[in-house]
Symmetry: none
Subunit: 213 residues, 4 copies
DNA sequence: GACTAAACGAGACGGTACGTCGAGTCTTTGT
DNA sequence: ACAAAGACTCGACGTACCGTCTCGTTTAGTC
């Protein structure tokens, strides 16, 4: 459906095109440097000047193209957010959801993932950041809806099951623990979370099987 | 980010005229002003200078007592966080959890609540903020554990039920929706969330029992 | 990270109160540095940043105290302009005027004098510069009026003689040559200029007397 | 110094639409725009970009042809300076000189005249500006020398009279007042100035003779 | 009731970063 | 072959806020 280019972040540390660098190439270096700095010290530690220096570009160039610090961050976020996360296909809904939640947990454990998460939440008042965040979630939920669609096809879930709710309930506690309360997320807990989500998915039946009577 | 308004004087908060008065009163005015500014424009818009002015205090005084911007915010957060939220007692666990989650949702809908949430998440890398956040969560989970304790006493839950898990699963989706994806939280959804949490609380039977009864 | 160009030249002028220097002393060093730079390369070459560096002061300090580049220049101009030039007293009006004109010529030959002259003229549209210039001229004409007053006392000039006109006509051509057409000013020419000024000073009598005799 | 107004479009000067238009008619539009901007806000307010926009030409074109801001200004100055001012011929030297001085005064009262004067003085350190200024003065003095030549022919002045000195003494005070001290120039004062100049031109008698006749 | 130490008011300063302006250069594209 | 378009480097501007420091004054706690 949505073919987002899966271009890697390429942590290749900026080639350092110092003086004559007629970069222009697209400014990918700038976005990379931005993400790099976010990963290193979070939003507060990311300065436009440092980004420019790392990208081998002049400060004014950054401002010309991205308008402001927020614009730059938003662009970097968008670039990173559109990097498609593969949707798992294990054969069962439960394992798929566990895989999704685990993937989220892993991501939030990485410095970059954590930094982006904090930025999305902490700078949510900025309209540009907000818009990128909205698009990000829309994309993520659209992607993961496939997991649920397959489950419906397999008969694991009734026709009208709410895909978003299922995924939201599976992922929310992971974000909460990892980003809000900052406590470790382990596999067992993820399983519990997914089971809870499944418990209210569709009209009970699928999960308990016997509650129908 | 660039609003000056030198006059300010704000909402009549600070008596401003403290000729002989030994301020010291505890600096409550400073913390109040801090929260006020956080509520108004979030963490980014809160400046020590503006806080000092609103509190009718000099900037250096703020630094003398709270050390830094983060220290000040941490203190304000602590002051606000320790304001005990009443633990509900409706008679049933489900309604208690719904009440707790609803209370959280209401709080996160308020400008101040939202600002504090964003601060806690966005500035989580700062040790002082982090500590306050840790204490806050510890307190909140301790408080709400009572709800579960009562349920156990009533026989709604088996002895060894995990109070924290129950509350966490009830509250996490609310935070996620409200703070992370920024979508509205309605009562029906809260009920679903709580039901999901209850579904994995204690050995299945409790749940099914409850559902049946 | 940010390599400061080690130019620093600074002809041993600034005490270089680097780190703990709670300068405040009055910022004379800043004004001195300003004049220095003006002398070196004129108005265009004078940057606030360079001034600050030479004065061993931070850029923001300069802006705090003088508001802007123009304000700084105006202050430096005022400081320099108020340095009283001694009014000559040779015994005769003609020699006094020659002395005044010669002094002006010498000043305009110096790099600093030339730079200030060019600044006064070239930046005349700036209100701050303008005001300083006005005060400067007022002061200069007031000072030199004494020369004329003495001449009146000596009977060289009638009572109501126009001091300003006399001085103006003596000095204007010097400025014109030196600053406007940029040609050298020699003593013989100064004598001619002063004679021309004297020729129209007072109600003819002095001149006509001379012409008659 | 900080007025933006990106729209501008100015006083309908530039045709703006030069689709096939090859090689600008000779760049007159550019020089006109330059003078226009100089007249409007002086040297400081004149930017190459604004000039280019008003002339309906691209910035790079300006740089190609005039090399730099100074080169452009020099060219504009030259274009304007070479516009011959008519040399008066009233019949008497005194009236001719008064006419010349008055013409200078009128010119210096106009925004453009004032701006050019300030530029010539303020940017005198730039070699290009300097050269244009030199040529300008050479031309002006050559032109006005005719006035003196005629006076000699009429017998108003002796053969070897110094034309340049006469004109210089007549004009210098006007420049001084108008450009340096920025005070108004009135007709009576101009007469005084010219009389002073005449007083030292040739052997005194000429002046008195003229006055008597 | 005077005396001292802590805390405060006031104000400037060093320092980092922001975002902006304009000069001048270079490359691509078109005519 | 020259010009339009547009992006880029570079140096500087002026501003905001952080956190520090100094000095003088106030006030509280103690003798």
């Amino acid at each position: 459906m949505s073919d987002r280019s899966a271009s890697a972040v390429s942590s290749a540390r900026a080639p350092r095109r110092r003086p004559g660098g007629r970069t222009a190439r697209g400014g990918a270096a700038v976005l990379t440097a931005t993400l790099e700095l976010l990963a290193e010290g979070g939003y507060a530690a990311m300065t436009v000047e440092e980004v420019a220096e790392r990208a081998g570009v002049h400060k004014t160039t950054v401002y010309r193209r991205w308008g402001s610090r927020e614009g730059l961050v938003a662009a970097a976020l968008a670039a990173q957010g559109s990097a498609n996360v593969p949707v798992p296909d294990t054969g069962t809904l439960r394992d798929d959801l566990i895989a999704v939640a685990t993937s989220v947990a892993r991501n939030l454990e990485s410095p970059l993932g954590r930094a982006l998460a904090q930025t999305i939440v902490g700078q949510a008042d900025d309209p540009q950041i907000q818009q990128v965040a909205d698009e990000f979630w829309q994309g993520r939920f659209a992607d993961t809806a496939e997991v649920v669609a397959r489950a419906i096809n397999r008969g694991e879930l009734p026709q009208g099951s709410d895909a978003r709710q299922l995924v939201e309930l599976s992922v929310a506690p992971v974000w909460f623990r990892s980003v809000v309360t900052r406590r470790p997320v382990d596999a067992a807990w993820i399983r519990t979370v997914v089971d809870a989500a499944l418990a209210v998915a569709g009209p009970q039946d699928v999960h308990t099987t016997t509650a129908q009577g």
